[in-house]
Symmetry: C2
């Protein structure tokens, strides 16, 4: 049985553990806090029946998946025999640097060591490691067992073989890896999300649209096609002659708009009063937790729909 | 029976006709080309059974919906008794100006006259009309009978009542109106789409990600949550304390990224060679038409899924 070490058993680590165990891997969780891996296993035991009910355990029972998971007493124990270590420490460079040094010292030479960081470049915490060629970032969108995209990001010294192994592992775990050709602040997804959010905040701050209008424009508009095609395939199918035809017809619109988007509004400034008032009018603060449960149920139903539609209509 | 005049019976006009007729309105199609409305009705008759098979006709039969549609011999005949005229001429200002003058002359004073334009500000073709207060834009994403979002955009002189009537009509037709507070180049959706596409082209042009990687990052990543929540609700649920907490935690990342996005690459320049090669490797040019049929089937299945999920899990 192929083994994965989960380093740090908070929300991201737990979600990774579910993802790998569901795909048939042995998963050992380790955490600097005593008892944290055991608490993570209890949390996971609560989540698995919901996934089974939505046919999202690949046919396995919750008990079978749980049987692939274990709490390790130390990083060394978790890493023993693991082909891949997935690090999920808090997003602080000062923590990642000594942690990666420790993992690089403890792990067998052929273990890939990957960070879940969303915003720290891998070059910043792997530069001085003897084993820096086997280190990279594998950044998920949480929770990875419901959202397949994962960014695989190299430092300048990451070996091509490391990237290939990380990407292959992600595919084996049912994920959809994005393999970046070099590191870049924000990677791919946060750069795309940031571009969209910056415009969303500008539209609200400048008084052109409401917070709810922006959400309607995406959830009842643009994101429907994006959710099964992505933006390039969308425009490829949006002009009779394909993507070059689309650019020839419509680029002038975007060329005109784009420079008017080259400024930002401070999200924590006055616009936040507007955003907050709009959101809390639709969802009181006390209901945020219940709405997160709703979100995960909608994500589960969407995952089931996407699998069915791909099978019946084509992917 | 409430009546809608469809002015111009090409692809957008036909799709609007289906949308309104499905919702129970009488719909008259007019076109400057002889025989065009009749051809549109034949096209619509072909589409309706597919919609019925996906339970997207609100329980009506294709025959019943078809019975609400008629080909009008002239603009005047189509406008006679219509509460709303939806104009769908080609995207050329030089065409819209005389067309709107004609429609304003022919339509009863209380008929709302709306353009489907995606990229021309309503002030540019309604300024000199006696009835300019009853003119606005209602911009759909095509096809509106599968994608609910519609932008309702005022010129500076559009009456608030016009906007309210247009928005009410859109809701009655099953659409999700975005009512802009003032006109702006690109409206809301093309500004959001443009922001995302500009970054997508930059990432590919600069060699950080492949065309397929960008599509994976959206379709298997960001657009899953966006497709039922929109971007503001997504970030509201992505930090324990809601959207203000999200901004406090993560704005620094976007503040750092944003200025690096303040430049554009020419979509029709060298990057298009890369985009085109990637797209044609996945989808030969000869299969674009079949893939558009696939897209519409996936959109139909997604619409059915969204309705079911909203009912069972909550919207």
């Amino acid at each position: 049985m192929r083994k994965i070490a989960i380093i740090g058993s908070g929300f991201i680590g737990r979600a990774w553990a579910i993802t790998f165990a569901r795909a048939g891997f042995a998963v050992a969780l380790a955490d600097p806090v005593d008892g944290a891996p055991a608490a993570a296993l209890r949390y996971i035991a609560d989540v698995l029946p919901d996934l089974a009910a939505n046919d999202l355990l690949g046919g396995a029972t919750p008990e079978a998946v749980l049987g692939r998971l274990s709490a390790a007493p130390s990083y060394a124990a978790a890493l023993d025999g693991a082909e891949h270590a997935q690090e999920n420490a808090p997003e602080e460079l000062a923590l990642k640097i000594p942690l990666f040094a420790e993992l690089d010292r403890l792990a067998a030479p052929d273990t890939v060591i990957a960070s879940s960081t969303s915003a720290i470049l891998p070059s910043l915490f792997t530069a001085d490691l003897p084993g820096r060629a086997r280190c990279c970032v594998c950044h998920p969108i949480n929770p990875p067992y419901l959202i397949p995209a994962v960014e695989v990001v190299p430092a300048p010294w990451t070996a091509p073989e490391t990237l290939a192994r990380a990407a292959d592992l992600m595919r084996a775990a049912g994920q959809a890896p994005i393999v970046m050709q070099k590191e870049l602040d924000g990677f791919v997804m946060n750069r795309l999300q940031g571009a969209l959010l910056e415009e969303a905040f500008r539209l609200v701050a400048d008084g052109y649209a409401s917070v709810e209008d922006v959400d309607v424009g995406i959830r009842d508009g643009l994101a429907l096609r994006w959710s099964f095609m992505g933006p390039f395939e969308t425009i490829d199918l949006n002009a009779p002659g394909g993507v070059a035809d689309y650019a020839a017809r419509y680029e002038q619109i975007y060329r005109r708009i784009s420079p008017t988007q080259w400024r930002r509004v401070d999200w924590t400034g006055p616009v936040m009063d507007t955003v907050l008032a709009a959101r809390r009018a639709r969802l009181p603060e006390g209901e945020l937790g219940a709405r997160q449960v709703w979100r995960d149920r909608r994500l589960m139903a969407l995952a089931a729909h996407r699998r069915k539609a791909a099978k019946e209509i084509g992917g």
